[in-house]
Symmetry: C2
Subunit: 328 residues, 2 copies
Amino acid sequence: MSKDSRLDSLLTRFAQRDRLALARLITLVENRAPAAVAVMDKLYSLSGRAHVIGITGPPGAGKSTLINLIIRKLRSADQLVAVLAIDPSSPFSGGAVLGDRVRMTDHYRDTGVYIRSISTRGSRGGLSRAAREIVRLLDAFGHGTIIIETVGVGQTELDVMDLADTVVVVTVPEGGDSVQVMKAGLNEIADLFVVNKADRDGADRLKAELELSVHLRDGSGWRAPVMLVQANADRGVEELLAEIARHREYQAAHRDPDRVRDRRAHEFIEVLTSELDERARRGISNGGAPGLLDAVREGEVNPYSAARRIMDDRTALDKILALRQESR
Amino acid sequence: MSKDSRLDSLLTRFAQRDRLALARLITLVENRAPAAVAVMDKLYSLSGRAHVIGITGPPGAGKSTLINLIIRKLRSADQLVAVLAIDPSSPFSGGAVLGDRVRMTDHYRDTGVYIRSISTRGSRGGLSRAAREIVRLLDAFGHGTIIIETVGVGQTELDVMDLADTVVVVTVPEGGDSVQVMKAGLNEIADLFVVNKADRDGADRLKAELELSVHLRDGSGWRAPVMLVQANADRGVEELLAEIARHREYQAAHRDPDRVRDRRAHEFIEVLTSELDERARRGISNGGAPGLLDAVREGEVNPYSAARRIMDDRTALDKILALRQESR
């Protein structure tokens, strides 16, 4: 089979809700394969229907237990649910991330639940692009709800949360947690706060602190509610889902058209620059600038001078970027 | 003055060791100004002489106190010393980063010490590029030692440590610190370990654990020593500096030519892709694709389709990338 017809067959199977085809397309997008942009272009019109819920918070806050419960409740409503877990590159944040993932395999045999994790390690700034495209694929596939789980530790994770329609920040009543939430900038992005393990001492105080921080934020618009939850005892989760649904409705009624436009423009620029980046890497690796690359390797031409030469030589750049030739 | 002559005057003052000119050029590089690549090209041949020491470890390990001492000792040897501090984007890691910085201003009035910090927040994957270029500038300026300080929390910080000739990982004898070091991948990059606050309980055990981890690493080549240090009492720091010097000599004697070549090639590709990225962003923002950008903003053309159109239209791409026209 030719590459094109293999891709067409993948897309056909994707349209028939073949999970293997979904997995393959995700891998293709994650690896920035040459066909990735064309795939996204073809499937784009199918996306934009899912509700994307971001769930973040410090390690050990019980995010995975909560997500397990949310999945179970949404599945009983017979929705397709997907989870995209962003594995932290930052193990100083601690926490048994892998163990958490394993627990989510409660749902492993349920073909209505799709779980995928991607790692921030080695993503070199491309993670939020990859995450956005994977969310679009999950969405186009027909998942009604897509949960993005991150450990709220870094800028990458904050960027990823920007993909969510509704951001839930999960905290626990433990030393200085509300301070950490503030410092991490999570209070600015939260649409809802969860105080998990609410049976513990300090839950009410944490709730009050978070409510104060919400109060101190700008006064108009959506006010992030602070929910007391005990995920491991299934307490407060129904109420949380109701608030999530309420936030979705609120958003639909208060959509800011400028923000929607800016997001589209942003996505366009990200796709374009990432395509240029990927093509340049591929072009150089595939011998697109053989003499020059060798001269750089041997220290005869410095890397900056070499880059300038390519930028000043349209023929060389066309070759590296594998640009289609103009018919003149 | 024209832009070119302003730049020439900056470069002249830089050559005369004018710290303000250095600061201006760093800002220019950090902001990815159009002239940045040309500046780096011009100054490249002056770089490659400094010893770059990376100092990393968890928050609260006493890195800044240690760095203060190192600066004092190196300054008494009348060397120019620079510190590039990478401010974490990750406040969950805690720690009074700002306070630490303030303490470093012990050296603020010493014109032989140059301190600059850059933030990982908002750097969108460009931080290690910026850090590399700033290190080159500090190097070209004539700093004999350049210290890069990071909080060892994420991939970005690990990437930055790759710029160092000698990586010092600072730990303290506190709950599970050696485990955290392992998890963060810091044991793989350490050329030297420091057990700081070595008067505390558990210092010897931590030292033994770290030595075991060094032992378990591949057997040949440099073996990272584990140094007991009390930075706040100036104990063990002379010995640390001696080991750092020994590592530098070891490296000079065991330089891997393939690794040197690969680094140059890597830098070339990074410069080229970042230049393409920056030019594309600038080109689009400056109205390089007006009709198309509007169509994307209005949702009439999807972002992927728009990116493909640009990639397939050499004239449009040339315009966006502000490429010099070929003379035919």
